[in-house]
């Protein structure tokens, strides 16, 4: 028995070590929750000035997508701090109430109900489409306006919820841009690689549906599981299919691996990445293999006006550079601010109509909604990696 107790002691000690040792890296997650604690104390303010406008955030701050989730929370927080410093919205300060969906449908449902229970005024967030969709239904039932910052699956549009707006351009816009790029390059045989999840598969499906109409041929659709190391067999299959152009629909983390292996495996045609890979990390991770790779992306922070300031400020605050969706999240808060100011209150109908009719020029481009609450105008651009940096090109 004593032996067992000794083991217990060792385990507790190890645990304590972990807890102390990792306290630093856990910082970003607690930052969002600081707001949460305060929010609990104060009553939810209505449009009267001096109150608090609470914004619920649904983001995957733990789990496989924790990196993006934390990046989202940080971007929201940055926007909110700026607004609060400048006097808030209609005299009210903004506060975040962050809940973690861990990119999992069941946890997202719980997180959503926790957000609803806290009775915020608005909800933003949503990274993984699969986790966001069940939550959207709940927000709709609870009568909360939701601005989906990142998730851009067309399935969200298909739900046709009257208070749910998508800040990110849907995949259909990306493919329109892609189509223009293909024409300018004069290639016809296209292969896509997705990662088997909602967002990337959706993008690949849109390619399969739209590109043949525009006269291109999809010669291969391959899937690379998230985090799978080996794609050499896929590369060979793509080469064998005779693809002249590979469209990588997945995320930047795996993207570098795919690009490297495509080049190592002897593929010599064009490579293009979707917006999931539009991150400067892609360039560093790819090294020389990344040269010449195209990216269809929402306006890149670095290329946007005021982008450098943004990066500098973000890096200064959080120690790392902003992620691919950072500006979308940042703009989300500003869209909300402008809508509230236009409406003059936090009234559901008024703010919803204000958002529907908004025209906001943000870091991520023009935000203006179509009838179906998707972005009306595609904000996609095409970039090419040249000498270790993104360069804007006109397809």
């Amino acid at each position: 028995m004593t032996k067992k107790w000794l083991l217990l002691l060792i385990m507790v000690l190890t645990l304590a070590l972990f807890a102390f040792g990792c306290a630093e890296s856990g910082e970003p997650a607690t930052e969002g929750q600081g707001g949460e604690e305060q929010a609990g104390e104060e009553s939810t303010g209505e449009e009267t000035s001096g109150g608090v406008i609470e914004i619920g955030v649904l983001a995957p701050t733990t789990g496989s997508e924790a990196y993006y989730g934390n990046d989202m929370v940080q971007s929201y927080q940055m926007a909110i701090d700026e607004i609060n410093e400048a006097g808030g919205v209609l005299g009210n300060t903004l506060e975040l109430f962050v809940e973690d969906d861990a990119c999992d449908a069941a946890q997202a449902a719980t997180a959503a109900s926790k957000i609803i229970s806290a009775e915020p005024d608005f909800v933003v967030g949503g990274y993984c489409s699969g986790a966001t969709i069940p939550a959207l239904q709940q927000f709709y039932d609870a009568g909360l306006i939701m601005l989906v910052s990142c998730a851009n699956s067309t399935n969200i549009t298909d739900l046709a919820l009257e208070q749910t707006f998508m800040i990110n351009s849907p995949g259909t816009h990306a493919v329109q841009t892609l189509s223009a790029l293909l024409s300018s390059l004069g290639v016809t045989k296209v292969a896509t690689i997705h990662q088997g999840d909602d967002y990337t598969k959706n993008l690949s499906d849109i390619c399969e549906a739209q590109l043949p109409e525009a006269g291109f041929e999809i010669v291969a659709v391959e899937v690379m599981e998230k985090g799978a190391a080996d794609v050499s067999a896929i590369v060979t299959a793509i080469r064998n299919a005779g693809a002249e152009f590979v469209y990588w629909c997945g995320y930047h983390a795996d993207g570098s691996n795919v690009i490297k292996q495509l080049r190592q495996g002897g593929y010599e045609g064009y490579i293009c990445c979707g917006d999931g890979s539009a991150s400067p990390e892609l360039i560093t991770a790819c090294g020389p293999d990344g040269e010449g790779v195209y990216v269809t992306s929402p306006p890149n922070v670095e290329l946007a006006e005021g982008g450098e300031e943004y990066i500098a400020k973000y890096t200064d605050l959080y120690g790392t550079g902003p992620g691919a969706y950072s500006t979308l999240c940042y703009d989300t808060i500003y869209v909300l601010k402008e809508a509230i100011e236009t409406a003059g209150s936090t009234d559901y109908e008024a703010v919803r109509d204000a958002i529907q009719n908004i025209e906001y020029q943000g870091l991520s481009g023009l935000i203006k909604f179509a009838e179906n609450r998707e972005l009306a105008v595609s904000n996609f651009i095409v970039m090419q990696i040249e000498d270790g940096a993104f360069k804007l090109i006109e397809p």
Binding site: K3, K4, L7, I10, M11, F18, C22, S25, G26, G63, S64, E65, A66, Y67, N70, G196, A220, V221, E222, V223, M224, E225, K226, G227, A228, A229, D230, S232, A233, I234, V235, T236, A237, R239, N240, G242, A253, D254, S256, N257, K260, Q261, Q264, G265, G266, E281, T284, A285, G287
Partner: protein, 303 residues
């Protein structure tokens, strides 16, 4: 466009490389299963930990030894030691108290250990991918449209050497013989004066060290690493171990290489979205028709 022959040659090469990763990890599964009948769920995460240890050691050494093969070899040795010790400690702290408990409890403990490793690395790396930048010269042998890089050849060579060494170790040394004896009959080994716990510890050490080699190799070859890289790799390696005949060392090697080749063939023939279905279906069919695996021995049940 590649010719049919080139496709086959290229896919064969792809399968062999992937298969050697599977084989190295499968060895650890098979050794541990053979000796204490435990499906060591944490093994995939030890592979992942090995990759990260290698990555960090490589980063530290890059300044002094350079970021070519020298650094890689040193990083590999360091990762082997650290992961070997880690495997030994896991066995000592988590599994040993449960050797006499129901098998399912042991399995659950293994899942628990897996969660611990996985989440620890996730917290340390903040859930981000790491990228392994080395300066190993590119290039290799070219046959028509097919290129086999030097890195690939070195990886295959390392795998082959390790397997030969392991076969020698298990087959001829006193330690190896003790391992085989324990897998047959633990109580009798105790009576014969074999320090069973020590041998089990050694088994974990060796299995984990091999997984660490695979981890560092994957850093070099694929260039990126992340905290969940061990999960699917672990499952696939276990599949490989079962296909080869779990508990059998040559079986693990054969199973690993075979699974790698089959996956490459599956990707080529059915497309990558059905690749895993193909692999798992094969596993199930295999188990139905030859439950002992390719090289496993049939045990005569005794009443």
């Amino acid at each position: 466009m590649l010719s049919a022959g080139e496709v086959i040659l290229q896919q064969l090469m792809n399968g062999l490389i992937l298969g050697s990763f599977y084989a190295l990890i499968a060895l650890g599964y098979s050794m541990v299963y053979g000796i204490i009948k435990l499906l060591n769920f944490a093994h995939g995460d030890i592979y992942m930990t090995g990759a990260f240890v290698g990555f960090f050691v490589f980063g530290i050494l890059a300044g002094t030894v350079g970021s070519s093969w020298g650094g890689v070899i040193l990083a590999m040795l360091a990762a082997m030691c650290v992961c070997g010790l880690l495997g030994f400690l896991i066995q000592l702290l988590a599994y040993r108290p449960l050797f006499d408990a129901p098998r399912l409890s042991l399995l659950i403990t293994a899942i628990g250990v897996s969660l611990i490793l996985y989440n620890t690395v996730m917290i340390i790396t903040n859930g981000e991918y790491m990228f392994f930048q080395h300066s190993i010269p590119a290039g290799g042998l070219t046959f028509g449209n097919v290129t086999i890089t030097w890195v690939q050849l070195v990886l295959l060579a390392i795998t082959a050497v390790l397997m030969l060494v392991l076969s020698w170790f298990i087959g001829t040394t006193i330690w190896g013989k003790a391992m085989r004896a324990i897998s047959l009959d633990k109580p009798t080994c105790r009576l014969m004066g074999i320090n069973v716990n020590k041998i089990i510890g050694l088994t974990f050490f060796i299995g984990s060290a091999l997984a660490a080699v695979a981890g560092v190799m994957s850093c070099v070859y694929y260039g990126s690493l992340h905290y969940f890289m061990g999960y699917m790799m672990g499952i696939k390696a276990f599949t490989a171990a079962v296909i080869g005949g779990i508990g059998s060392i040559p079986g693990a090697m054969l199973g690993g290489l075979l699974l790698g080749l089959l996956e490459a063939a599956g990707t080529q023939a059915l497309g990558s979205s059905w690749k895993d279905v193909f692999a798992f279906s094969l596993l199930i069919i295999m188990l139905i028709f030859k439950p002992t695996g390719l090289l496993g021995k049939t045990e005569i049940e005794r009443m």
